[in-house]
Symmetry: D2
Subunit: 344 residues, 4 copies
């Protein structure tokens, strides 16, 4: 069975494991105060072209989202997200468990616009309702789309005007920044958002996300929040070593580029075979639509996620590629589809 189920089916890129091996016997401070974490933060600050940002390494995406949002907000303040936003449905109420409501806008393509946010602001007028204070976006989004520079700038300006924090979930930031239509660079992000994270888990690391705090207001005492929520790993070096390896040269972007190119190959192959898609995704998640019986047949040879019913007879599925996806797997899938769809 070949899996296109997600981008965390394998372990880590071999360079990362190698880095863990070679550093294994060095004695270091605990809890992220080791020299690897420091070096990784230093390299990231360079890549970001910004010496003022604070960088913290955490173990996973939900953990990062919940600690950041809980640290940023006062008790009566709320986050705004797309209805497809990961924090709204797929984190088991992690944000609410820290006491904060998540307000949502219905969106078409996974992306929030100033108009979406404004409508929510207008509906929250006094102390009988929560006070919206933070806008949560994902890039790439949960449906594979990405923010253009212009879209992000408009949202950023709107948030500043309204005194809202803008927080970007970058679980798949690598894929977004390396995707075909992208015109954003990593180094532009600190000026556009108040905080964001650079996802490692879904782009070649064993585990790990690098949270970047750009807004001065959000920096103070952040390690207290990490400790309180169980996120300061005793051997924090494990995270630093990985990000050091990912960003020492260009590995992070190389891996994302590979994942994207496998997704494009898959997409193009399916398109040629006459397959249509739920959405235009330029990143490493694509959403082809098949007749229900085709989905059944595919299930015998491939792992993937059922995304949803399109109509009575058709279903969209999600195919995800990663740094580890092999070209043969893509070729095999396309070939199988051609065989299934054109049986003679």
């Amino acid at each position: 069975m070949i899996s296109f189920k997600n981008d965390y089916s394998e372990g880590a890129h071999p360079q990362i494991l190698e880095a863990l091996l070679t550093s294994n016997y060095v004695q270091e401070s605990g809890y992220g105060e080791d020299s690897y974490c420091q070096a990784a933060a230093e390299i990231l600050r360079k890549k970001l072209g910004n010496n003022a940002v604070d960088i913290h390494f955490l173990a996973g995406g939900t953990q990062t989202n919940l600690i950041a949002i809980a640290a940023f907000l006062r008790p009566h303040e709320a986050a705004i997200a797309a209805h497809t936003g990961h924090i709204f449905v797929h984190e088991t109420g992690a944000i609410e468990a820290t006491g904060h409501k998540v307000l949502t806008a219905e969106v078409k393509d996974g992306k929030l616009t100033p108009a979406h946010v404004e409508e929510i602001l207008n509906a929250h007028t006094d102390e009988h309702m929560v006070k919206p204070k933070l806008v949560y976006i994902s890039n790439a989004t949960e449906v594979g789309t990405i923010y253009t520079k212009k879209e992000l700038r408009l949202l950023s300006e709107f948030c500043r005007e309204k005194k809202l924090y803008l927080f970007m979930d970058g679980a798949r930031l690598g894929s977004a920044l390396c995707s075909a239509g992208n015109d954003l660079t990593l180094s532009e992000l600190p000026d556009l958002v108040d905080a964001f994270y650079i996802g490692g888990t879904k782009n070649g690391a064993l585990l790990g996300e690098a949270l970047v705090l750009c807004n001065e207001e959000l920096k103070q005492d952040f390690r207290y929040h990490m400790k309180q929520k169980g996120a300061l790993l005793a051997k924090g070096r494990v995270l630093g070593i990985q990000f050091l390896e990912l960003f020492r040269d260009n590995l992070y972007f190389d891996l994302a580029t590979h994942a994207n190119s496998m997704a494009y190959k898959l997409r193009d192959g399916l398109k040629e075979a006459g397959v249509s898609f739920l959405s235009e995704s330029p990143s490493n998640q694509i959403f082809p639509i098949f007749a229900n019986e085709v989905v059944q047949e595919l299930k015998e040879s491939y792992h993937f996620e059922i995304w949803g019913k399109v109509d009575e007879r058709h279903t969209a599925i999600r195919l995800v590629t990663s740094w580890a996806t092999k070209e043969e797997a893509v070729t095999a899938f396309v070939k199988d589809i051609r065989r299934i769809l054109q049986p003679q």
Copy 2:
């Protein structure tokens, strides 16, 4: 500089890294539903001689403590701990952040007795005070001591009688179970406590703790709590692979035995040199007392933690050994002490 600062200064035992390497390209399910986690749980259940326990793998000790305690208690219920208990001081209010008070008893040796708990129960009589519901103990304790079988049985029986959950923090359970005076076995624990965890981070793993849920009442929906608190790692396999390696043969106990034997060698060497100790610790943490100027001199060649002032002129320090402690380091330390204390 040699470090005796803690048992998490290095990476992982090489067999564990090797296991991560060999499994690296296998595609697996995410979030702890992979075959490695299942196999590790299976092996642990065998070692525990108990097929009914539920086992979950988490990233660290504070995370495990806070998720377990928050999942076990209703909002008005409180935990009881020794005043030296890790959850009381050294987890940044992690338990309180989930809404629960930690009640404490002043103890001499890090250990709770039924008498300690009873005094707290007697002081909490009605709904104007929290309702004590869970007893938190550590084995080994934060001051290096261990529970004997008899002590644990008495506490266990008392807790059952009073309908209190007994939860054991096993961050250093390996060291406890392999220490000189110990008469407890791993397989006796499920009958004695309602839940406990087997610490990996401080005994050779890169990261990871195995939480064992023994009491049927505590099992339901536990994965929801893990996800909600950010503890379900996407590549949960990372934890399973490590525990599989630690318990496949006897590695876990071998590593703990090594750490203990290094601690004993250190202790015996210091005793011979005339050094006295804050407490009798049979585990991998020892607490020698030195004149202040000796501590200053030691600081130039060794990392360790200052434990506290004993009197105006003397200080206790904490020395911790681990799976990675080299005999040369111990010998060197003892030799240095002999030189410092007997200068001619």
Copy 3:
């Protein structure tokens, strides 16, 4: 200025003030353990025809909702409400502040059906999402509608089948039970819901809601939750005295009947004047639609709430009547409308 803004613009019904006066010098126990609270609970149990329910008196609706829901749910469990439900928008995230997500169904008339709830259950399939556990309804609803016996029975049966708690917010239960189309009685509620409250504040009391716990599972330790959330009044007698007076004879229902009859008179008068309504409300809130300039003119003589824009030129307003609404006020309003709409 006459106010139809809400049903809490005045103080308390004079009989209630009288009861406070006559009992004023009696010395009583604090925190709701006084003889008045006991007597009030006793009378309520009689009216409910149910000796097994537990009854607690609280100060207000939001307080009652948040304490009850937080006490009933475990950390990963969520409440289900209509999108118009008071807990979803108008309580400043009170439920989320206790850690619980509120899931919502879009409804037309303020009421939840089994189909609404089922759709939410179907969308919440595993531990990556919260676990729905409690269904929150209001009777009368926030848009003035009421549940028929059949509707409530169907919902109740569905909840039991799915192991969901059914909780009824009765801030305006008096008006609901005394309204024209109602076929429910107070004594039927303990069999149909797991908990509900009988609203005092909006039906003649100075302050106070009587929470009725019907399901055995929800009763234990409830006073702890009240105390922890700041809801045990030192002079708890204040609440008991009022409910005793409201239910000693028939005052509670008499007051609600008066409020309803004033609402009907208002509605009928407006209908005769050609006014249309946003919804058919049989309770003490009605929602007439006026041209925007009519609303402007009305504002000069009356207090009321703007409910929402119906189209560019029309607005719905909310008119609320109460135990204290005078017939002259209703007559004056209808007369003014007639004058405004028929300018000759």
Copy 4:
């Protein structure tokens, strides 16, 4: 049976009930935005000689404490209290339920000094521990003592230097300010503390506390916190009317003076009869010590609280006087004691 059990055994002072009666039919805005609350706040600001403070009316002491402290602190910050502090033991973990640890100092007389606070600060050095941020004191304290102006000034200066908020629980502030040894005035408080509350419930009101926010940093959005925690009463006027009556003239202080004078009479009578006391209390709570059999005999005619065992044969009890305590009750108690102690 005569009760000296507490200062909330009766209803309200008759002037207050009268004020509720005369205002009963006036239509007012809800949720504390009525003209009575505004007028009461205005009068309080005058009495405080400070136009800049914000004033909010709440229903009870625990509610006020938990909302204020939760609003003032960020998630990782903690409160410091005396071990006898009401928030530490007697509020069912209300502060912890909002996520914050309460750190305590052992005190002799219910009062915190800079030395107590400093010791706690010194013990909390980094992000592995909570960050102390707020000092909670009570005046009068839970053991009847009061802060002198000098003591409060020293503590205030220390807190400002260390950037700690100083919060005063004034459940019995009336008694403190009217007690024999007091040299503080109400109008000095806004300069000395960051926030405090003026207790109504224990000094003649039916219910109600007036929270005074002095520090600009603590004022923003406070009504959101009140609403979120269920503390915005729909008929908020009930609180405003009472405080207006208490402070319109001098009623608040007259009532406290009466309570104190009854306590003094009781104390002096007992002293003359040879009774000794647990502490010197200048406020309306006194703590005489009796032989155990005397306590038994007293229980037949009086309600009071057992404070604690002094030795095997003696017990301290708590006697509380109030605005409603009758001189006859005091005389009767003293007479009974004389009779019991001098049996011939």
